[in-house]
């Protein structure tokens, strides 16, 4: 059975993270400095050191991920540790602050860290939820195969339309041109269909929205209702069937893009904010000793 990265090695890193948190909390409770708890007591420096080291090490996952030949443990192990120790960082860093916050660089550093961890938690949730949904949606096929199938369906429908009045071929070609999958962040993440189609209208043609191929199916339905020619009626029926299949495949393609979008979007926050965090962390550490 598939073992999630969270269960890696009997949750070894979960145990390490819990131990780290427990140790930090006990030390914080026991520690009773002359001044209110803050980052400048010996425990403050210790927790700060552990926190900074954790941040740098957690960032190193980004490097390890790209290094396929690395002998430094498995990628799954790294990811498992990344998740659990990243969560433990909340406890370590919060205790480092001594719960003293303000409008300053140091609190900015803390907020950025929470932002990175928050986006990471989002990432873990989507990684736990979406890959299964993605497999179910793909049903053993792949997006480029789906595209080929759609191409096939188009060729097939155009072959059928060759035997029909010219307007059918025109509409099918317009549909091919106006089909959209994704195209914008909103469309990708919302799984929205902004397809259009040029349909014959009085005095020429008119572009209308065609989500879920609805406009085309309506048009074919109207043609079907009007048709008195038996052969034409049968062929319209064939087209309806192809277009319905096409709609289904497009829907899967869109859903696939949507899932991939959500699987990726958090990384576009997680990675840049991590780098901003590292910049702020350096500024935090240096400035604290600059004005010791």
């Amino acid at each position: 059975m598939h073992e999630s990265m969270l269960d890696y090695a009997q949750r070894r890193y979960l145990k390490i993270a819990i131990a780290l948190c427990a140790l930090s909390i006990v030390a914080y409770a026991w520690h009773d400095p002359l001044s209110p708890p803050n980052g400048g007591t010996w425990l403050g420096y210790t927790l700060g050191g552990i926190g900074a080291a954790l941040i740098l090490w957690l960032t190193a996952l980004g490097v390890r991920k790209r290094s396929y030949s690395s002998a430094l443990g498995t990628l799954r192990g790294w990811t498992s540790a990344h998740v659990y120790l990243g969560l433990a960082l909340i406890v370590v860093a919060t205790l480092h602050t001594g719960f003293q916050f303000g409008w300053n660089l140091h609190t900015l550093c803390y907020v950025l860290m929470l932002f990175v961890i928050g986006s990471g938690i989002f990432g873990v949730i989507v990684y736990l939820r979406y890959p299964q949904a993605m497999s179910a949606n793909r049903a053993g096929t792949k997006p480029d195969v789906l595209l080929e199938e759609i191409n096939d369906l188009d060729q097939r429908s155009l072959r059928v339309a060759n035997e029909m009045p010219r307007r059918f071929g025109d509409v099918l070609r317009a549909n091919r041109e106006g089909t959209r999958v994704g195209g914008s962040t909103r469309a990708i993440l919302g799984g929205l269909d902004f397809s259009t189609i040029n349909l014959p209208a009085a005095g020429g043609s008119q572009a209308v929205p065609n989500p879920e191929q609805a406009a085309l199916l309506d048009w074919l339905g109207a043609e079907l209702a009007r048709s008195t020619d038996g052969e034409l009626t049968k062929r319209i029926g064939d087209l309806l069937s192809v277009v319905a299949t096409r709609r289904n495949q497009l829907r899967r393609l869109r859903r696939d893009a949507q899932i991939r979008g959500w699987l990726e979007i958090w990384l576009y926050v997680h990675v840049p904010v991590t780098l901003a965090l590292i910049g702020t962390l350096i500024a935090h550490v240096v400035s604290v000793f600059l004005y010791w």
Binding site: G102, E177, I265, A276, L277, G279, S287
Partner: protein
């Protein structure tokens, strides 16, 4: 059923090659899976796309949804096939052949030539299905993130720090982020003037704030904890001010309330150079010696220390006084009639309310204890103070009266010159002699019986003709507990009265010391936490009453320290 499957393939020579297979099966599968009888290795084809079964008049085609087949140019999912029918399944074209003898059916399988020719060569639009395709990027933002934060958070302010005061002031005043973003918390309000002057304390980068920076302002007012020759003094000079006085902290606690700064030494004071009389103190509730009072003691007014509760303490102030009589609830006889006195009639708070203004005769006693001496002129009073002045006043008064006539009801029978009479020298001398006698008579009464003796210890010296009175000087102890701070105003809670701590109403002699013992304080005050012995009392760390920087020990200026070091080196 027994079926012949003829596969037509274009061989390497370009010539079509036919290969026949005979299959015995009820169902002939078509699909991508390797167990299919008609195998088609094409991603678009399902593992099983369609199947053929036997029908009465030939074959029956059933597609596995959502697959569809094109049968003779028509789309369908299920079809009954006859000889000559053409089935297009994805890239494959399947034709139904005439079944040879002994066969139930025969089909040929070949590549659909139409696959190569498209009905429309216009390509599908390119779909932007990934976030990267719609413009999302990590790398530039990551670079921007690290660059901007380092630049604005560190490099820019650092560049200005250590340059001229004007340039760093300019940066702080500008909209750009300055070194003010590095402050980890507000300064104590007492240091408000330094709030925008980081370099006032942080003189050198990467060096901790040194004591010198504190002494820049505080050297004139600050005092040390012990005298410079105290054995612990050397260690105390090594301490950094910021060990106790931590700034930029929340809550701001410039005054260190932590008991440990005291108990580090005072748990075992003798181990830290204290004299044998210093008793251990660890906590106000748990371990604190009885209070000592400092008393001014007659006749030389040296300050003596005495511990309350050990043996009765007698204050030698030379005053004759009784609190009990003054606080008689039935009232006390006064020129104005019967007066019921309160403590505050004499003990008036000073400006801060922490203590009281000194007691003096003119302000606190004279309204009742009048110094009038001549009933004929009741408004005329003697001066309070020097006995010689008193005598002089009396002699002056009676000389004037005896020489100038004495015409009222109190007039004595003899020795008085009638008003307006001109006197010979002898008569004048006689009148003055009488006046002197009279003055002595009155003085004896005043000093020894009526006025002075009420409060003072008076002795008579000199001759009977020229008596001289001595009044023992009075000095009242103003501060009984100089080593602790006590705020009377803070104790005016409404629940506590003066009597709560000071047993004045029953004190019959002036020598009583009415200072409360520690047990009186402990009724309300606990130790550091205030929750000792299962009772909740007012948390009272050492600093509630004591100050670390003893006002009596001067600050050891660096020069003094140097002298001490040199002296130590010589020994």
């Amino acid at each position: 059923m027994r079926i012949l499957i003829r596969t037509l393939e274009i061989g390497t020579t370009g010539v079509a090659v036919a290969r026949d297979r005979v299959v015995d099966a009820d169902v002939i599968g078509f699909g991508r899976a390797t167990d299919q009888h008609i195998h088609c290795n094409d991603q678009r084809i399902g593992l099983q796309q369609a199947k053929f079964t036997r029908a009465d008049a030939g074959l029956l085609l059933s597609c596995i949804p959502p697959a569809q087949a094109e049968v003779n140019g028509r789309l369908c999912r299920d079809a009954s096939l006859h000889v000559g029918d053409e089935v297009s399944l994805g890239p494959m074209l399947i034709k139904v052949l005439e079944a040879p003898a002994d066969f139930d059916a025969a089909i040929s399988v070949e590549h659909d030539s139409r696959e190569a020719t498209v009905a429309d060569d216009a390509p599908l639009p390119v779909f932007a299905t990934s976030l990267e395709q719609v413009g999302w990027r990590k790398r530039p933002w990551a670079w921007a993130g690290v660059t901007v934060t380092l630049l604005l958070g560190l490099i820019l302010p650092w560049f200005f720090v250590g340059r001229s005061d004007a340039s760093i002031a300019w940066l702080r005043a500008s909209a750009l982020p300055s070194d003010m973003q590095w402050t980890s918390g507000a300064l104590h309000s007492a240091h408000g003037n330094l709030e925008v002057k980081c370099e006032g304390c942080h003189v050198q980068p990467f060096r901790r704030v040194r004591n010198e920076q504190c002494l820049d302002c505080h050297s004139s007012t600050l005092h040390q904890h012990v005298a410079a020759d105290h054995p612990a003094a050397a260690d105390m000079t090594k301490e950094r001010c910021t060990t106790c006085h931590v700034e930029h902290d929340e809550p701001s606690n410039l005054v260190q309330l932590d008991t440990r700064i005291c108990t580090d030494c005072h748990t075992e004071p003798q181990n830290h150079g204290a004299g044998p009389k210093i008793m251990p103190a660890t906590d106000f509730a748990a371990q604190h010696p009885d209070f000592q009072v400092s008393l001014l003691t007659a006749p030389d007014w040296k300050v003596t220390r005495a511990r309350l509760g050990e043996s009765p303490i007698i204050e030698k102030s030379n005053l004759e006084f009784t609190h009990a009589a003054h606080l008689d609830p039935r009232g006390i006889k006064a020129p104005q009639g019967e007066v019921v006195m309160k403590c505050a009639d004499c003990h008036s708070p000073n400006e801060s309310g922490t203590s009281f203004t000194p007691i003096n005769m003119e302000q606190h006693c004279s309204s009742c204890h009048t110094l009038g001496f001549d009933p004929a002129e009741p408004q005329r009073e003697l001066p309070h103070g020097e006995p010689a002045l008193v005598m002089q006043t009396l002699v002056d008064h009676y000389s004037r009266r005896f020489l100038g006539g004495y015409s009222d009801a109190f007039s004595p029978a003899e020795g008085v010159t009638p008003p307006g009479a001109s006197l010979s020298a002898a008569a004048r001398a006689r009148a003055l002699g009488t006046a002197k006698q009279r003055a002595n008579q009155v003085a004896a009464d005043i000093f020894e019986r009526r006025v002075c003796a009420d409060c003072h210890m008076v002795t008579r010296e000199g001759t009977s003709a020229e008596p001289v009175w001595q009044v023992a000087p009075v000095k009242l102890t103003q501060t009984f507990m100089p080593k602790a701070r006590f705020d009377h105003a803070a104790h005016a809670t409404g629940e506590a009265t003066c009597e709560t701590c000071h047993a004045a109403a029953t004190s019959k002699v002036a020598s009583d010391v009415l200072m409360p013992q520690i047990k009186v304080c402990r009724d309300c005050h606990g130790g550091e936490k205030g929750t000792e012995d299962g009772r909740t009392r007012i948390a009272s760390p050492c600093a509630s009453c004591h100050v670390y920087h003893d006002q009596q020990e001067s600050l050891w200026a660096p020069v003094v320290q140097k002298v001490i070091r040199q002296a130590a080196a010589r020994q």
